[in-house]
Amino acid sequence: MFLTHQRVAGTPLAELPVLWLAVTGTIEWFLDNVVGPTMDLLAELLGTPMLGYPFMQRAYLAAVCIAVIGPLVGTFLVHREMAMLSDTLAHTAFAGVAVGLFLNSALSLALSPLLTAFVVAIVTALLVELLVEHAGAYTDTSLAMVLTGGFAVGSILITATDGGISVGIDAYLFGSLATVSTANVGILVLMSLVVGGLVTLTYRPLLYVTFDATAAQAARLNVRLYKRLMVVLTALVVVSAMQIMGVILVAAMLVVPVAAAARVARSFRQSILLAILAGEFAAIAGVTLSYNYGIAAGGSIVVTAIAIYVATFAAQRLAPGLRRIGRLRPGHSETGLKADGGEKE
């Protein structure tokens, strides 16, 4: 299903501003006329007034988007054993936020810090990838240096900015539901379409490169290009999800649902689907918990996701045991059991 349902239309650069207006307009219309009324109706039906609040409606929509693109890109990342890259890029994205706040303050601009975060994260991602192409492998040390280095630059810029800490850095560090604006949701929806479209179009080469890069190169796939695409996609996802998840926790959305899905999935495609389902469950449950108990959204989402992982782990460990107990029950013939469950799938 991932392969068939969408294509990204090519757009001449000149039409981008018009397109942007059209997109934000559409998003606003969508929020006001589709999401809003639907949620209002749900709020009434379920007797939960929180679904009626516009800021919660935005939060849910954002969470749903994050839980699609996070596990989608994360699946490729985790199976290339590059999970740490998402954490590294998140921390450099923090530097990007700080750059935005700093520029706004120094030059009296009104840039969205999210925009500068995208730029800084993408540039860092490509630099790291170029370094890897040169050195041949991701190393713990280099990722740790980029991660802490990005965060260090961020902290310096924040403290050097007029107004300093007062600009609500907490919201970026730990994520926040209340600060998700309509424009942010618009960016997130757009990013989801871009990331979803790109992964759909390049699903096969991404899979080949993830699984066996040398054979992919021998098969004359442009391995370098797809590896670069992979890190750029990661940067896009990390920055998109940062709003709700927070810089420190955002990597979990790319890793934990994927790890849970990998334990039980029967195929790669199924693992993507299951990872997204797990991500959605964690995101929606996490946002709900966050609202009801006044606790951090990012933290709630991550703890829920880890609970899902632990549950799949436990279920897998316990299942053979339970089956064995079943086998010992009288009335089950030895041969009948061999026929149905000898080999676990």
Binding site: F211, D212, A218, A219, A262, R266, R269
Partner: protein, 257 residues
């Protein structure tokens, strides 16, 4: 289509031609002025001690690396410019480790063989048939929907062979494919390679087990930075090329299966 043209084509031009190739990683020389031809239909066994440059030579043959000096041609083109990916099948050294944790099925891996032809868009009936036939040919059709990480080492290697067959590869390059595979499965695996070679597929194989490679290969190349031997396996075991290439380690490798 005429048999004559076909004949001359096959007899005059080697499928891979390595000419005076030198290669080094930074300051470390790996290959020194190596020349070797691989004729279409050959089964070449590449042997040599660890670090002798076998894998590098294979990479150069496939155009995955550029030589510092000398030229490599592949199907009559400079190897690095050759772009018919579907004609090359590659089975990596660590293929037995690949994807053990990754939730991917045998069929999903074999389908990769069709990716060079079908990077986007729906698989045609022909694509699906090629995948099914390849799995049938190496005897893994019944494993199609199993996760590859849950197969034995020998079964996994067949999956990678099937991937190459699905693409219609006429050159199969294998880098120590049976590391960590038990002796019996290894024999079966070589029988399979032998059978594929008999159908006209050219095989280039790196193997540390000299006993098994001299039994199945039609040509042996012994390498340690330089080429110490290139020729008939029967001759190889009688020359002292092995001793020269391996130095004092040679007795270790004389074990038989």
């Amino acid at each position: 289509m005429t048999p004559v043209a076909n004949n001359t084509d096959e007899s005059t031009d080697p499928l891979i031609s390595v000419r005076d190739v030198s290669f080094s990683y930074g300051d470390v020389p790996v290959l020194d002025s190596v020349s070797i031809d691989v004729e279409a239909g050959a089964f070449l066994g590449l042997v040599g001690p660890n670090g002798s440059g076998k894998s590098t030579l294979l990479d150069l043959m496939l155009g995955l690396r550029r030589p510092d000096e000398g030229t490599v041609s592949l199907f009559d083109k400079p190897a690095t410019e050759f772009d018919d990916g579907e004609r090359l099948g590659y089975v990596a050294q660590d293929a037995t480790e690949a994807g053990r944790e990754m939730p991917i099925t045998v069929r999903e891996v074999v389908r990769m063989g069709r990716y060079p032809q079908r990077l986007v868009g729906r698989f045609s009936a022909e694509d699906r048939q090629a995948v099914d036939d390849a799995m049938e040919q190496v005897g893994i059709a019944d494993l199609a929907s199993r996760r590859i990480g849950r197969l034995s080492g020998g079964q996994r290697q067949r999956v990678f062979i099937a991937r190459a067959l699905a693409s219609g590869a006429d050159l199969l390059a294998l880098d120590e494919p049976t590391v960590g595979v038990d002796a019996e499965s290894r024999e079966e695996f070589y029988e399979l390679l032998h059978g594929l070679n008999a159908t006209g597929i050219t095989v280039v194989l790196i193997e540390h087990d000299i006993g098994v490679v001299t039994k199945y290969a039609t040509e042996i190349a012994c390498l340690n930075r330089q080429l110490y031997f290139d020729g008939d396996p029967a001759e190889f075991v009688e020359t002292d090329a092995l001793a020269a290439a391996y130095g004092s380690d040679q007795h270790v490798l004389h074990h038989d299966h």
